[in-house]
């Protein structure tokens, strides 16, 4: 037996991962006043009132006890109906859906349920900052595949094929994507699915932004024949229903995988919060009109923001979903870190440097348009002034 290294108190796995690159900008921005923040990765709407009211009512009626580990069956039935209606995804509420503490937990238990030590998981980047560290924490090895603006940040089949090794277990994709806003349509996903099947891989598909698909309908890779059996879909209430602070997500997968995930969930989280689950039932039953209004507002702001970026000389591909613009800052000659820091210090606009989202992100900044139109206008004015000082 190898003796443990004395003096080192934290685990090797944790020591392997780095703190999020966003942290540095959070610390810097938090110390300043009068900032226009485009760095916020959550809706600027408050949870619809009827949903908040359902939570209050849940407490009033005394629902303060645990629920079933997988979540209230009533909620899982609602989730199942919702998935069928919105995305043509049929899943059995009894054994193919688990309600989780946010989509973050869903990602964690999905990875821990499928990854063995040494397994490789392909992470399609730029993407949400948690994926690669979560693979590491699950004992796996994240393998980064970078997408580019030239390909509209879509995963190209040949890129996937080149990254696969005998150790590859799964790929992690997220469309609509944070931070690029990029989406992939059915045909494009079909080409990916063929390779996934050929190499007998699993897919973790984070579809938390599915409702925020602006041009055409959202396509899930699980819709493709043969893929349902090898796909784990991550979703939740945070983005569509403006419920980030509620920490309520869900994961859907074939029952052999959900039963594995449920073991981890029951020993770590036990169950998601009861009052939040009651609120989520109300959200699914009566909240879709609110979702529609919020999505329309995001789309209008996207249109405004992207056109404005193009006008001031920061080329920006049109994001098909989510609420982020990911303009290129390459023609300024600055790195994304330099750009974000100087912009914050001189014009007090907070954006997130693209490199923190992984390969393919450098040369871009993530700007959330989940903020008021007035803020967007002022931000564009200030960014324009900033880039003019660089000329």
């Amino acid at each position: 037996m190898t003796p443990r290294t004395k003096g080192i108190r934290t685990s090797k796995l944790v020591n392997e991962i780095q703190p999020s690159g966003i942290r540095k900008f959070f610390d810097l921005a938090s110390s300043m006043d009068n900032i226009i923040s485009l760095g916020v990765g959550e809706p600027d709407f408050i949870t619809p009132w009827s949903v908040r009211e359902a939570c209050i009512s849940s407490l009033e009626r005394g629902y303060t006890a645990y629920t079933a580990n997988a979540g209230m069956l009533e909620l899982r039935v609602e989730i199942s109906n919702y998935l069928k209606k919105q995305f043509q995804l049929p899943y059995d509420p009894k054994n193919e859906i688990i309600v989780t503490v946010g989509a973050s937990e869903a990602l964690d238990i999905a990875l821990r349920a499928i990854v063995d030590p040494g397994d490789e998981v392909i992470v399609v980047e730029p993407t949400f900052v948690s994926y690669a560290p979560l693979v590491t924490l699950a004992g796996g090895k994240p393998v980064s595949v970078g997408t580019s603006v030239e390909a509209n940040f879509r995963l190209m089949p040949e890129q996937l094929r080149a990254a696969i090794t005998p150790m590859t277990k799964a790929i992690m994709v997220s469309f609509p994507n944070n931070p690029t806003g990029s989406t992939m349509n059915y045909d494009e996903l079909e080409a990916i699915a063929k390779i996934v099947e050929e190499y007998d891989l699993l897919v973790i598909s984070d579809e938390i932004y599915a409702e925020m698909t602006y041009d055409g309908n959202h396509a899930s890779i699980a819709n493709i024949p043969g893929m349902r059996e090898r796909t784990i879909i991550i979703s939740g209430f945070s983005k569509a229903f403006a419920m980030t602070g509620w920490r309520l997500g869900f994961v859907i997968a074939p029952s052999d995988i959900t039963s594995a995930m449920l073991k981890i969930h029951q020993y770590t989280m036990m169950c998601a919060s009861t009052m939040a689950q009651h609120a989520a039932i109300e959200a699914l039953q009566n909240g879709m009109d609110d979702v529609g209004k919020m999505v329309q507002s995001y789309k209008q702001r996207r249109n405004y923001f992207v056109k404005s970026f193009d006008e001031i000389g920061l080329p920006c591909h049109v994001p098909g979903g989510a609420f982020y613009a990911f303009p290129s800052i390459k023609n300024t000659g600055l790195t994304s870190d330099q750009f974000a820091e100087q912009l914050l210090l001189t014009e007090r606009v907070a954006v997130v440097p693209g490199h923190v989202f992984g390969s393919g992100g450098e040369g871009h900044i993530r700007c959330s348009y989940a903020t008021s139109l007035d803020n967007l206008k002022e931000a564009v004015t200030r960014i324009d002034r900033f880039i003019n000082t660089l000329k």
């Binding site: 999020s20 966003i22 900008f25 959070f26 921005a29 938090s30 900032i35 923040s37 760095g39 916020v40 990765g41 959550e42 600027d44 408050i46 949400f128 900052v129 948690s130 980030t244 329309q296 209008q300 702001r301 249109n303 405004y304 056109k307 404005s308 907070a350 997130v352 139109l373 206008k377």
Partner: protein, 164 residues
């Protein structure tokens, strides 16, 4: 009416002061196309006017009193309620007028400087109209929400500056 026209109407209803160039970008049209649509909607009387929602209680010296009056009337042959409704809505004091189902026929919203002014309007102008059978006046005590706008300072953005 196409979806772009509806979208423009919704945005103007929310903020009638929105600049045309901003509006055009938001609905993904050119400025010229947007101006043409607005002009057409004005000509078609779909857009009837541009107004502001003001909380007058925050403006001292300009406090007003608002009352809602339930009016029972006798409809006239041939013109139904329209004739008496027109006689009522022509008064400048009348801010809104609706034909209602239920216990009374017309709902009249009146605004005046004082309660006396409203009382005078009801007794001297409204009640004296031939078709009017009875009136019940309710004074508005406080405005919480009007035309979809909540009369408070609103909920603050609680989000932290940068999130993942």
């Amino acid at each position: 009416m196409d979806s772009k026209e509806k979208e423009i109407l919704q945005l103007i209803e929310e903020n009638s002061r929105i600049a045309v160039d901003t509006l055009a970008k938001m609905v993904d049209l050119s400025e010229e196309e947007t101006v043409t649509i607005i002009k057409k909607l004005e000509e078609q009387k779909v857009i009837l006017g541009y107004s502001a929602v003001i909380d007058w209680t925050k403006v001292t010296e300009t406090e007003t009193v608002t009352a809602m009056i339930d009016v029972k009337v006798t409809p006239k042959r041939g013109v139904g309620f329209d004739d008496v409704a027109e006689r009522i809505y022509r008064f400048p004091e009348v801010r809104a007028l609706y034909l209602m189902s239920g216990a009374y026929d017309l709902s009249v919203v009146i605004e005046g400087k004082t309660m006396n002014e409203i009382a005078r309007f009801v007794s001297q102008k409204l009640s004296t109209i031939d078709s009017v059978l009875s009136t019940t006046t309710h004074f508005q005590l406080k405005k919480y929400k009007h035309d979809g706008v909540v009369f408070s300072d609103g909920e603050e953005d609680q989000r932290i500056v940068i999130t993942p």
